[in-house]
């Protein structure tokens, strides 16, 4: 099934990759809002918010992008919520598009108001014309409404003293219906103008907030003519500086990538590994030279293929087989099954990509890269968000790659042991040049499910026979947890270890009271946790989702319920997690991943929670940030007596924080641990 030749992307008016991605994501966001507005009772008002993503799209891109998003969002909303959902998305796009365009032209609220009135009139006229043609449906609707009104009037008529009111109701409604086209246009003008103004307000506020949001996109489409031949590449004294910064992110670096060789590039965060990837993928260097025999051909057959860090974002198809061919020129024949077998995903071709683990997603991305028979394959920290098993599988796939294919492999990693399979290892340091003295993350072997040897504080969290099933009673019912018996004592440090899909996140949500288990009880100090939401703090893996205010001090004040004028409290909260008070005035979107996690913790800890649950606290952090965060947590547990439960697929560095380890497998605790506390 061929859609849009890649060549058309540039000279035709077709959407560019960034435009496509933004249209798709904003369409999904708008559709989600519309669906909630239609499906959830009394949430219809929420549909107004669906105008904001569409407005943002119209503000940033051309109209064609908005059109694509409207179609995509409309179809999704239709599939889930029927015609009502579809119309809600269309309305959101109509009104949101209007506000976005007014905003882009730099006009103010009065223009938006006039545009809203005009749009309302147009919409109303179209609606009235449609009803004029659909005479049978119109009669049915009007008859049905008249019946309801007349019925109410008939009841009122029986009540002594209310007869005139009943008569009024009946005749007034009949008069209104006589003038129905006027009524429809007027109500359309009123409601659309109102929604436009609310949308305008929300869009303005959100745009003001978004000023600090960094654009995290990395790859750019490279315009090139001539043959594609990215290797051998010779980099000589290459440096690169991002616009708006005052130091080189990379270099000077000299490096050769030969045909068919496997090079590992290592270095701490900030050493310029990713920048080097960008240069190899075609970005021109700031100084120095890069010699190649031909063009880089990013994503082209025989060109350069790149696999990046985030498993979920790499994969573009909803079905495994579709993802392998996604983006290939129409008409290209691909042996999907051979490629899937090579990366160890044979038999999964028909599976939904939504159900794959991080490691499987990354192997799928490698298969998609290999479908292009690239001359150069760049793997940029592809294991950093994957569990140990997934990491081993991925490395096994990468290690023999250069023998099986005519490709060079550049593997960027911050794990020492991963680099060992390469022909050659190159170390990058942050201050330019190549050195060998780099701090690397070690991977740790899984400890045995262990026994708590020390202290027997009073039990805080008690889970008895906890099980959870999603979608109970539907054909999609799936069991996430069963028969969990677990007691967490005061001052405990517990690591709940499990792979993707083992139910560990469900367990975390139940322990925090956010989810009520379908069977069993989860008690905090003897009463159900779900009645005391907030008493057990939880820090999610996606820290950004937990930070709602625009600035650090506002965020902490809001999360902890502090008065943000009282500076000393906020300084204290920041100090607890080892952050500089000066950070209080920093915008949230300027924080690093490690800082975001600490700010979340500062807000949570300032409320003195009974226990703290951390979901994958170390994922995506470099070695220094990991160590810093762990030091803070170990300190808090040891000195402040904080009870800590860590949910993770990783063990490294967690032994000190969590002396007790439990293994979760397929929704059940694998080995029954014995504790000194009150196990039942």
């Amino acid at each position: 099934m061929g859609v849009t030749g890649a060549g058309e992307t540039r000279h035709g008016g077709s959407l560019h990759p960034a435009e496509l991605a933004h249209a798709a994501v904003m369409a999904a966001l708008s559709a989600a809002t519309a669906i909630i507005a239609v499906v959830v009772p009394f949430a219809a008002g929420l549909s107004v918010l669906g105008t904001v993503p569409m407005g943002l799209l119209a503000y940033r891109y051309r109209l064609r992008v908005l059109m694509a998003a409207t179609v995509a969002g409309g179809v999704i909303a239709f599939l889930i919520a029927g015609m009502g959902g579809f119309m809600t998305v269309v309305d959101c796009a109509y009104i949101g598009g209007l506000t976005g365009i007014v905003k882009r032209r730099g006009r103010g609220a009065p223009t938006a108001f006039v545009a809203g009135v005009a749009a309302g009139a147009v919409f109303g006229l179209v609606g009235a014309a449609a009803l004029l043609m659909l005479s049978r449906l119109r009669n049915l609707i009007f008859d049905s409404m008249t019946a309801n009104i007349n019925g109410v009037a008939a009841v009122l008529n029986r009540i002594p003293g209310l007869e005139p009111l009943a008569e009024r109701l009946k005749s007034d409604f009949a008069t209104l219906l006589d003038y129905w086209p006027v009524l429809i246009v007027a109500s359309s003008v009123f409601s659309i103008t109102m929604v436009t103004m609310i949308g305008w307000w929300a869009l303005s506020r959100v745009l003001a907030r978004l000023l600090g949001v960094p654009d995290v996109h990395k790859l750019d489409v490279v315009d090139e003519t001539g043959p594609t031949a990215p290797v051998p590449a010779r980099l000589r004294d290459v440096t690169f500086r991002y616009p708006g910064t005052n130091h080189d992110a990379l270099g000077p670096v000299s490096l050769d990538v030969e045909r068919g060789e496997h090079v590992a590039i290592t270095g701490a965060n900030g050493s310029g590994k990713t920048t080097l990837m960008l240069l190899l993928a075609g970005r021109p260097p700031g100084s120095g030279t890069i010699e190649r025999p031909g063009g880089v051909g990013l994503g082209r057959p025989g060109g350069t293929a790149v696999v990046m860090q985030h498993p979920e974002s790499q994969v573009l198809g909803t079905r495994v087989a579709d993802d392998v061919v996604w983006g290939l020129p129409p008409g290209t024949e691909t042996d999907v099954h051979r490629l899937l077998a090579e990366v160890g995903l044979d038999g999964l071709a028909e599976r939904d990509t939504g159900g794959l683990s991080g490691g499987e997603l990354q192997r799928l991305a490698v298969a998609a890269a290999l479908a292009r028979e690239p001359s150069l394959l760049i793997a940029d920290e592809i294991t950093s968000m994957v569990d140990q098993q997934g990491r081993d599988d991925l490395i096994a796939v990468l290690s023999g790659l250069t023998q099986r294919h005519r490709t060079s492999l550049v593997h960027i990693t911050h794990y020492n042991d991963e680099a060992d399979t390469a022909d050659r290892i190159v170390n990058l340091t942050g201050n330019g040049g190549i050195a060998d003295n780099v701090e690397m993350v070690e991977t740790a072997p899984a400890p045995k499910a262990s026994v708590a040897v020390h202290h027997g504080g009073a039990p805080i969290l008690e889970l008895h026979g906890v099980g959870h099933e999603y979608g109970s009673g539907t054909p999609w019912a799936s069991t996430a947890l069963r028969d969990i018996d677990l007691v967490v004592n005061e001052g405990d440090g517990v690591l709940i270890h499990g792979l993707n899909g083992s139910g560990k996140s469900t367990l975390a949500w139940i322990m925090a009271g956010l989810l009520q288990p379908t069977t069993g009880t989860a008690l905090l100090d003897g009463t159900p946790v779900s009645d005391q939401i907030g008493a057990v703090a939880i820090s999610f893996q996606a820290a950004r989702l937990q930070l709602m205010r625009g600035r650090v001090d506002l965020e902490i004040a809001s999360a902890a319920g502090l008065d943000y004028h009282d500076h000393s409290q906020i300084v204290r909260a920041l100090a607890v997690v080892g952050l500089d008070p000066a950070l209080g005035l920093r915008r949230i979107d300027q924080l690093s991943g490690g800082q975001m996690r600490r700010v979340v913790l500062a807000g949570l800890l300032a409320r003195s929670p009974r226990a703290l649950i951390l979901d994958e606290p170390l994922a995506g952090l470099d070695a220094a940030s990991q160590r810093g965060l762990l030091r803070v947590l170990v300190d808090l547990r040891r000195n402040a007596g904080l009870t800590v439960v860590v949910i993770s697929h990783d063990f490294h560095g967690l032994e000190e924080l969590c002396p007790r380890t439990l293994h979760l497998r397929d929704g059940a605790l694998a080995a029954t641990p014995t504790t000194t506390g009150g196990m039942s």
């Binding site: 959407l15 933004h22 994501v25 669906i35 059109m67 449906l137 049905s144 309801n148 293929a305």
Partner: protein, 277 residues
Amino acid sequence: MTAPAGRQRRPVVLLRPVPGRSVVHQLWAGTKLIVVAGIGALLTYYPGWIPIGLVAVLVLVTARLANVSRGALPSIPFWLWILVFLGCLTATFAGGSPEVTVGTVTVGLGGVLNFLRITVLSIVLLGLGALVSWTTNVAEIAPAVAKLGRPLRRLRVPVDDWAVALALALRAFPMLIDEFRILFAARRLRPRDEATSRRARRHRWAAEVVDLLAAAITVALRRADEMGDAITARGGAGQISTLPSRPKWPDAVAFAILLALCGLSVYIELFTPLSTS
């Protein structure tokens, strides 16, 4: 302390077909979309009892063929039943022909029949749409839309862009829903500051809405940037599916049924005394 499973509300399940490989599952996604569009048009033009009844029969038979159990339906909230009941009640008081006499009481059913007709019409249309999402793999939708829209290409409508955007939006949708869940959970974990005056409450509400929106959009933008990178890394848009997307002979049967149903309905509504619209 075991919560009985029956008391739990059945959720609205998003974009996941009912397990199985029935003949309905195997129909081309484009056929299903055309059938829904065709029947939608029929019922908006001729919302009579007989067309509604025929479509209801079609919905029930299709659901049976596709092995859709009653459990697939989300729980219907109690207040909705009350609303329908109240609507029926007031419409009954309005009277109107036909009239039914039971003993000494004569009730005019005209009003309530109209009310019931529009209620059943909405239910039938919702059911028809739900059948599409219960029997169609998400991955088949975008290629079908691309195929259906092919004639529009001649009018320079960018159908292919739309299909790619739709495929990507379907991929992003569940991820965004997950992020929404976390966002709302994080919101629930926070203390609610006490706002005393009405003005302060309104102010707080507005601030919260902007906070949630900004967080949701920030996350969405980040996701879009990464997705844009992934698209660039694959050299832009191109193929979106391995399987050919085209109708087969069961689809011809489905079209024949659609045509027969529409033809019969229009004939009855236009030329026979059975017409009710």
